[in-house]
Point group: D2
Chain length 226, copies 4
Amino acid sequence: MKVRTPIILVNFKTYSEATGKKAIELAKAAEKASLETKVCIGLAPQFSDITPIAQSVSLPVFSQHIDPIKPGSFTGHILPEAVKEAGAVGTLINHSERRLKLADIDANIVRARETGLVSVVCTNNAAVSAATAALKPDMIAVEPPELIGSGISVSKSQPEVVKGTVDLVRRVNRDVVILCGAGITKGEDVAAALTLGTQGVLVASGIVKAKNPYEALLEFAEAIRQ
Amino acid sequence: MKVRTPIILVNFKTYSEATGKKAIELAKAAEKASLETKVCIGLAPQFSDITPIAQSVSLPVFSQHIDPIKPGSFTGHILPEAVKEAGAVGTLINHSERRLKLADIDANIVRARETGLVSVVCTNNAAVSAATAALKPDMIAVEPPELIGSGISVSKSQPEVVKGTVDLVRRVNRDVVILCGAGITKGEDVAAALTLGTQGVLVASGIVKAKNPYEALLEFAEAIRQ
Amino acid sequence: MKVRTPIILVNFKTYSEATGKKAIELAKAAEKASLETKVCIGLAPQFSDITPIAQSVSLPVFSQHIDPIKPGSFTGHILPEAVKEAGAVGTLINHSERRLKLADIDANIVRARETGLVSVVCTNNAAVSAATAALKPDMIAVEPPELIGSGISVSKSQPEVVKGTVDLVRRVNRDVVILCGAGITKGEDVAAALTLGTQGVLVASGIVKAKNPYEALLEFAEAIRQ
Amino acid sequence: MKVRTPIILVNFKTYSEATGKKAIELAKAAEKASLETKVCIGLAPQFSDITPIAQSVSLPVFSQHIDPIKPGSFTGHILPEAVKEAGAVGTLINHSERRLKLADIDANIVRARETGLVSVVCTNNAAVSAATAALKPDMIAVEPPELIGSGISVSKSQPEVVKGTVDLVRRVNRDVVILCGAGITKGEDVAAALTLGTQGVLVASGIVKAKNPYEALLEFAEAIRQ
């Protein structure tokens, strides 16, 4: 499952609407939207749902977190090799609900590279995004924490945050893919994000809690194709 | 998959010998040993291996950790409902490699009960075991951290720790199942543990890193049957 | 400065009204109230204010936290010996704003004993209080987190929590001093706490943010004397 | 107490040789060496020793850590305003023994600036140093963790790490002061550090555990003057 940009990356969080059987249903709805629009849709389910989802759909699956560890005595931790073998092709790192120490973000990016996982580091503002860019992850997803789950999209309400992030990041790193997230609920939010210089969006409740996630993803994907 | 005592609970940690396909092989070896001896063997694989293992064998599967959360916005965390739906019947809590805050151990025991997961709280000494007993988990597994992975079994080298734990715990709680762990590698270590008043063992490298895990489990199970 | 019960223990938190020079003023107001009423008032200022306060007043001073460490390489941590030498006679452990791992609470109680510091472990409910009692600290202070800073006193609004805590704790430990806290703002809250079987209160905003902390402490102390 | 470069910044850690009265003695030895050589020597004692040391010597005092908080309900945390009022002019942030989340390092740098504290962010390698440089602290102190306390100096044994850090940092930030640390025990280690493009050293055991800290500091300072 190759990761292409522009991308819509759907974070399943630990929502009941995106756990177990419902996670598989959601994944299938996403696959349908992706097949119809040819837009890349990535899925970040809970760890225990990576295997069943990777076996059920042909979309790139991401882990929600990894620990900066090698195989060994780390009970209860997330081994990069384990999520890779389960079917993940990439991983979120440092999501606002799972913030990491700076040294561990650096170590995680290295471990993701060693394991062949696409690294997507979440950040909270422009300065932190620029700092992260110096660590050379594959992707950065900037999400102002106060907008997460708010329904107020960062790309429409705080375009200067997205623009400022893109500018600061590009001074440090020309290659990293930049996503933005927080409050994305409509196609026009997605279109605005791309216009501001990003290559996609990270979205959670906007899709998972939508009345019809398939319709919502279709709207997002159409906005990307234009 | 009902949990019965005495029990041999095998912690897969994040060992490469117990990840992905190898985790399934190990689970099948354990199932064979359990079927032949009628001794209950529990398996605690990594989160991403819970579903495939629960689908492959008829043994009780445990999560290595849960977070004290309800469904919602907890990216990268372990939702009790998710591991339950994946096929787990129980969970380790507070393993020495994943120590938790006291208030979170309490909340986790409550969440495990609500979700229908058997709670197995790991502890490091007799006093902490007695404290944990007051929180009324289903099981307590005492493991002196300095012996974990040492090959020196707690039941043979520190019988007073195991005995003292059993005594202190029983003053607070008559019902909780008591396991012991750390350094268990031979049948005689298991037999000693039961003689000291425990109802089973928590073991990791002693099985996972054994030349022949099936043979090792057979030896452990035979020691329990006598 | 001997610690006597009943006690009013004032947590200065990191309030601006209780930092630096203002912390010393507050300490002097408390000393005046204590001298006039003969009621023991303990003070828990920020770490950097322990020395100046211990040098300014004749009241028992408590650290707000210690780390379970011995002298060595622990930059940025709180060494029990350091706060002791600075003038503290005791320490809070596991305050709801500084929750600790169970194994670290146990180790902290041991370190406090070794260093000659009175250990006051904060807890959030009756079950956790009973668990803590098994670790044999000098004092337990139960504070339902949802009432902290609320102005709704635990002793008046949730007497069953205080009563239930006292009962459960006494089954495990007959000697530990029991305090209660959260929402204490009036003398009658203090009187109610003692009637329910506690030996004092842990209070923060009720004193620190009072219009006149001296008057407020006088009211608390009078309630204790009756 | 103005902070000048080149600087020798002495981390007192939680060493018994640098706690309480002994911390003051050490501070006076450092003051003597600084007065004689005109080289700036900064001191980073434990929180409870900031006030007595700031009152005893005319050297810049640093906190070992701050929390990214404003005045309020943060029991057991380090309020920037509190260490400032106690007499600190700066603070370490993210020491290898007190690693912080990336978002908290960013917030701490902002808080230090607001409070008028010089921010010294510790880092573990060149990439993390460059990332930190993007956050615009006043100083960066690179210390390979494996050399801390080793007696093997980073500037002599791993000059490429120091050189590589200086190069990478300068691409992102021209103004930040760069220090290096880990294993510094001799004047020649200090001289080597400056030759490699740093503006000083962060040192702990090399001074605190020296037979004669005054003599050791004199040697360090002489190496800087040449």
